[in-house]
Symmetry: C2
Subunit: 150 residues, 2 copies
């Protein structure tokens, strides 16, 4: 299993992605895919504003960047925010076995689908992730509403 | 509600997409998004082989092609094959209210998630859709296994 220190490092890579997206005028949600030892395999951030693609959530972009592969079972998917139904479904489909979540107090996605699917879920309650979403909700509430399908 | 004739027309647009993908060497699964009167809003087909993007399932590509919009509630999403967890999750997230499925005997996706979410599901049991998947499974079994995360 990944150590708590390594989980924090992988989440850090996801936070860097979220900040990058925010600096581009986009939604500050980021994701990273890593091996158990913390080696980063792929990263991605929400691209909906940047590319106009409504499916370009951080986790989807990260999985896309990881490309076609068969080692999903060994990888840990980190995301700064609790994954929505699409992104949780993608973790189930690809066969990722571990999901690391920055925070789920701003938005609780479909974590129960992950758990029903036997995926381990670690919620790190990281204040930096909460702050990223607070910025979005305060400064760009419409963008946030669109992101969660409201 | 969409009439059965219109549902068949919309599925036909999805089948055309599936055939286009197969002719390109790709996975023969297609999708279409339409209004209640049958007006096609967007189409898409699986692009995993063509683009190397593992998330490029037909429904995801179709939703991507539909772009950022707020009328998801009024749209019908058609797909030649029962939607996997990622694609079912995306229908739930976007707030599509109706999903038309060509067939679910080759593969049964996460239709229960759609139903739990109050989405109407119409399975048309179309033999053309079954035949498309039979071609894939017979001629390119590895591609199929990768597509469903095996």
């Amino acid at each position: 299993m990944m150590t708590p220190e390594t989980m924090n490092q992988v989440l850090e890579a996801a936070i860097d992605q979220a900040r990058k997206s925010w600096s581009e005028g986009g939604i500050p949600i980021g994701s990273a895919l890593a091996r158990e030892d913390g080696t980063i395999v792929a990263v991605g951030h929400n691209m909906r504003v940047q590319s106009g693609d409504p499916t370009a959530h951080a986790e989807i972009v990260c999985l896309r960047n990881a490309g076609r592969r068969r080692d999903w079972n060994d990888l840990y998917l980190a995301t700064t925010l609790s994954p929505c139904q699409m992104c949780s479904g993608s973790a189930c489909l690809f066969g990722v076995k571990h999901v690391i979540i920055g925070e789920h107090e701003t938005y609780l996605g479909a974590e129960h689908w992950l758990e029903e699917h036997g995926i381990t879920v670690d919620v790190l309650d990281d204040p930096r992730c909460v702050e990223l979403m607070r910025m979005l909700q305060t400064e760009k509430p419409d963008l946030w509403a669109e992101d969660i399908g409201e």
